[in-house]
Point group: C2
Chain length 721, copies 2
């Protein structure tokens, strides 16, 4: 942890420098060096500003210096307004001057080919040696609205006012998309405290800024745009700390589609891991994944650290039946529950509402409430705040005729404020027309007002989920360690193990496997079959024949000695015919298991996230419905249960169709042991499949297993050793 | 058909009256009677306007009359600005004056309880007798922007300018939601030709207006908001005619969720059928179903009758990697294909694009293209219009520096115009900031410009689907009629039929069923078992015991005479114990079928749509994954194939998992026969289940069947008879 603390403090000079030098400051107002300098002045930066220019005495009214080393004072941050081929000299000067941080806009680095990649590596190395933290290159820069640090040349960013709601930090791996989001947020009244474009991330990465913001008391909501995680371990630690601080992290992750991730990989040079694994990683660590910039903004507007929704049960108050139904549809599609109101609640409402109003949820006060009978809004709220079945109250309209002196309005504010319900107002997206003049007072009184254009129902659903995650979250969940035997002798480099080897590895990690013996003669086969007990299964054991059915080298339900002999001969000869060069270890004689529920458990070592565990039900569940789920290892017991819970077919495990429930605890045990195996040997085991794993009402057994051992990492290890 | 033609022409006076009287015209500018009158004047209505007021000589500068009959000229349309209890007298006057149509805003009718319902029925009856077509009651009215007819009191509607793009008609079952959509459309530059709020639909319904617009050459896109169809048959005929005219119908249907349809039912009083059936009905008839008002607007902006997308293959041109990936994700999530570009296309692009640009789709020209190198946009377009793998081209940005005199811009327009690709520009939702000044010229040149705020990718996907539907569509598809025997003798009112009766009905309609005999003694059982051939299945046959397994009154795989005797006795005694009052027809002795693929085919008589056919695969497919699909009867052969095609598990039917493909033609045959059975007896058969139906590589057989006969309709028939 010490290193991390150091890490996030060391980037503070990027966001809170006491002095800034603009390297390449210019008098030409069309040049970046001028735009950047002027931005610092216009932003009323609360620190010293030093223009650096070879000859000028003064630029934009500020004394100019011919070089960094000429500046008499110390310099915290240098903004490089120079081309990529001058960056190196600039950094050397920074080192001389003991500059703490630098922002580099220039492109021409890792995104531009091999040469650029080399140069980038070299500069990053140099900066690290000299304790200079860098933002960029190939980035738009950053903005800190709280100290007026506008570290960017982007004219679009400069349009955004520096005032407005605070408490939201934003970091983006895409410069252009980041700027657009920053601008759109401002249009919707959310000004980010920080806007950071992380560019090529040659030194500081998105994860560094997230970590910083987790530790920064100015920030209530951490948000960002991510294409690929460079440092998932840091992201995880930051996410867990954010959970302790009840500070949500909202990330828009792109590359969900195949085409998207094709582009994501080439765009940042990051290895975009499979999108499903990002999903799993985010879900595991309480990171909120959103689809769009609108979702980031809506969440930021909706989040209130003092008022988290208590559950999914939502009531809608509308004065337009159509709007009410539409919002109800939307709520249910995002997993909110349009709660069936109790008779007591309905009776209470009927006391003040007319017959033509509908007291079923969505509650339709009809157009009368917007014009003649605005008190209906108040009456309804008063009932709902006392209805235990309701967690959230969505208003689709709010009376326009109310002003701050209106007594209904005042009482409405009081009732809302004293309630523990989550109350929000989602106006139809019609620009300013749909906002009543009391909107600012609503917001002050913790009634979130979010335009329908921002898809606030989706954000509310995510806020509910976040709240529930927080409720369940326990820091420092015990990682379980199982006793196991050493398996290193079996991890042959660059190979697919034979079934018996793979099964042996599972067995050494305490995973129940079928009793099996690899035999090399008819006699041995008979002996072992008797030992196992008829009926038995016989199949070829060879690392070179993973598809035993295809090779016709498997026989089920063998019940007699004669059948054993025949099976032995057929299997051996079919296997030889199938692959004449395969090494055949012999024929595996195994117990034939009774029918149970077939499960698949798999694992792979992901290039971004390391070991990842997969589970699903066998057969058509996986093949037709792709009904599988993932978690990133190491798994906690809660993770393992969640993995099963996320399967569409989970009802089968619980005993659907009149069957007895299966032994979920046994499945969880296998998942945890596989997780441990993968963590223990993450450099070696590339892929692992247990398929099928048969689970019973009591007990579980792995019937078949496949393990692929990596090549590269083995090599690395050998060299390292 | 004659009646329908008459129908849609008879509502013309509502939209194109030559003279309008305002009944209840008022001098008080806060009263509806004044607002309405003034709206007609302000809208520059192209016809005569007659204020009706008991005493006034003149209102708003127009000569006023004390009653309708006082008006010397003929009156086409009367707008009722009076309360619900005066409507009746008003209608009597209308009848005297031979008025052709009336708009009634007043509420207090079917939405307000039994009294109102009665009054509404009475008035509707009266209007019908006197050939007066009515809009409303409980509605916002209508607007026809082409003749200045503003037939509404809604102040919001009055804000909308009467100019702008034409060719879109809109009809809404929700007044408030309709008004909001109308306003939002106008904000986005789409002014509807017609805005119609259909209210309680006491006479004219949403379907009437859709039918009218199908036949109206002014209209290119028909759109609307629907909660429940009152006349699905008319909607279907209109939809089919619209397909012939290549005129899309875009409907926002609410009530998708349970809560939503709860409200929909109570809101319009319409019987909202199950949402899945609406989905099926829309899909079958080429009606485009959308989720939101934004989708209606986006579709209207995107649709161009001269330029339909040719397929799903989409290329994205972006100058922001992030935007490109995000749009690619969105495209794929809506079913568009971000096409992998051919090497030829990429090579062509590389000729003009720099190394740092990405020629993979999404094509990232980088920020340089937006500022220094705008020609990249042109170069890329020139390549893509000649790439056969590309159907659609989405631009996420468009150079702001181009004006109409710019030579790149001019060439861009020429290339776009001469291309048959579907080209569109979807700016990031940032209000006016993201629109270049050339936007109007783009639109003139048939490049659709649709703000990202309107979710245009979803609309594009729907437009593609619509185009493909049109391509496949064949009018007057032959309805197939199968020879069958009469089944009326078996349709016992208000009963669940016994399995043998239900199977007999299927058999008479030519559906293969298992050979079966109902026996009443051990001896007969043995005889029949021998006739059927061992092994056999035996089960109780009783309309009062539909759940035979629960009653333990079914035995499989019976292979000997002794087993037959034992089974007969057990089944009879278990059945008697299970339900002592049940009528037992005996024990059914049936052939035991070999293993095959289990299918479920079902049908029910929906209250809105009539007979509806369902198909799915048996077991967990239905129980766990709810993998079923619907079509509204009568089914065409294409419908029946589509029904199977829409199943997630369709790969199973095609022979997944190394199995032989199943006899889909046989399944289709059963579907068509069930469809015919249901159509022939729609008033009698309430529900039908064939479960399971076992399909083989060749052939099919119904193993078990259930049919429920309706009560009410039988009664009706008896009374009718």
């Amino acid at each position: 942890m010490t290193q991390n603390v150091k890490g996030y403090e060391s980037i503070k000079p990027l966001l809170y420098p006491e002095s800034v030098a603009v390297l390449g400051a210019s008098e030409n107002k069309y040049k970046i060096g001028n735009i950047q300098l002027q931005a610092l002045i216009d932003g009323k930066f609360q620190g010293e500003i030093f223009p650096i220019h070879p000859t000028a005495d003064q630029i934009a009214g500020l004394k100019s210096y011919s070089s960094l080393t000429d500046v008499p004072n110390s310099i915290d941050l240098v903004i490089f307004c120079i081309a990529y081929d001058q960056i190196k000299n600039g950094l050397i000067e920074c080192a001389e001057k003991k500059v703490k941080a630098a922002i580099i806009f220039a492109s021409g680095f890792s995104e531009a080919g091999e040469e650029g990649k080399k140069l980038q590596l070299e500069l990053a190395e140099f900066a690290k040696l000299n304790n200079i933290r860098l933002l960029g290159p190939n980035c738009v820069g950053l903005v800190n609205t709280s100290n007026g640090l506008i570290g960017t040349f982007s004219s679009s960013v400069l349009w955004v006012p520096m005032t407005g709601k605070r408490g939201v930090g934003y970091v983006s791996q895409s410069g252009a998309f980041g700027v657009l989001t920053y601008m759109a947020a401002a249009q919707h009244g959310v000004n980010f405290n920080y806007f950071i474009s992380s560019g090529n991330e040659m030194d500081t990465t998105l994860e560094d800024y997230i970590e910083y913001m987790v530790n920064d008391d100015e920030i209530e909501v951490i948000s960002g745009y991510i294409e690929g995680a460079k440092n998932p371990e840091k992201l995880k630690l930051a996410a867990l700390k954010a959970l302790e601080k009840r500070k949500p992290i909202v990330l828009m992750k792109t590359g969900r589609s195949d085409a998207g991730s094709r582009a994501a990989a080439s765009h940042t040079g990051a290895l975009a891991g499979s999108d499903k694994i990002y999903d799993a990683f985010f879900r595991q660590n309480g990171i909120i994944r959103v689809e769009d910039s609108e979702d980031v903004i809506a969440f930021a507007k909706l989040f209130n650290p003092n008022r988290l929704p208590k559950g999914r049960n939502t009531a809608i108050i509308t004065s337009s039946g159509g709007r009410g139904i539409n919002e109800a549809d939307r709520c249910e599609s995002y997993g909110l529950n349009i709660v069936e109101l109790s008779e007591k609640t309905k009776t209470e409402m009927r006391k003040s509402l007319p017959d033509y109003a509908s007291v079923s949820n969505p509650i339709d006060l009809t157009a009368a409430a917007s014009f003649a009978n605005t008190e209906f809004f108040l009456d309804t709220l008063k009932v709902l705040v006392n209805s235990p079945e309701v967690d959230n109250i969505i208003l689709t309209e709010f009376p326009h005729s109310w002003d701050e002196h209106n007594k209904y309005f005042q009482e409405f504010m009081t009732v809302a404020k004293n309630s523990d319900k989550f109350i929000c107002f989602f106006p139809f997206p019609l620009g300013d027309i749909t906002y009543p003049k009391t909107t600012p007072i609503l917001v002050e009184n913790e009634i979130a007002v979010v335009s329908g254009a921002l898809n606030p129902v989706s954000a509310l659903a995510q806020l509910v989920e976040y709240g529930q995650f927080l409720d369940r979250y326990q820091p420092n969940e015990m990682e379980e360690v199982f006793a196991h035997e050493n398996v290193v002798d079996l991890l042959t480099p660059n190979a697919t193990l034979s079934e018996s080897e793979a099964s042996e590895i599972l067995a050494r990690y305490g995973i129940p496997t079928t009793q099996r013996f690899v035999v090399n003669s008819q006699e041995e086969a008979i002996e072992r079959a008797q030992q196992v007990g008829f009926p038995v299964v016989m199949k070829i054991d060879s690392q070179h024949i993973p598809h035993k059915t295809e090779a016709d080298a498997i026989r089920l339900n063998i019940s007699s000695e004669d059948e054993v002999i025949q099976a032995f001969d057929e299997i051996m000869s079919n296997a030889r015919n199938y692959n004449p060069t395969a090494i055949l270890n012999g024929v595996s004689v195994q117990e034939m298991l009774p029918k149970g529920t077939e499960i698949i458990i798999g694992a792979k070592c992901d290039e971004v996230f390391g070991p990842v565990i997969m589970a699903g039900l066998g057969g058509i569940f996986v093949e037709v419905f792709k009904d599988i789920s993932f978690k990133v290892a190491p798994l906690s017991r809660k993770d393992a249960y969640a993995l099963l819970e996320e399967l569409q077919a989970k009802t089968i495990l619980d005993g659907a169709r009149g069957q007895a429930p299966t032994d979920k605890e046994a499945i969880v045990d296998v998942l945890l042991r596989v997780s441990q195996l993968m963590m223990d040997h993450k450099d070696k085991i590339k892929e692992l499949d247990i398929n099928p794993l048969i689970v019973y009402e009591k007990g579980i057994k792995a019937v078949d297993a496949m393990i692929v051992i990596a090549e590269e990492n083995i090599k690395k290890e050998l060299i390292g050793g």
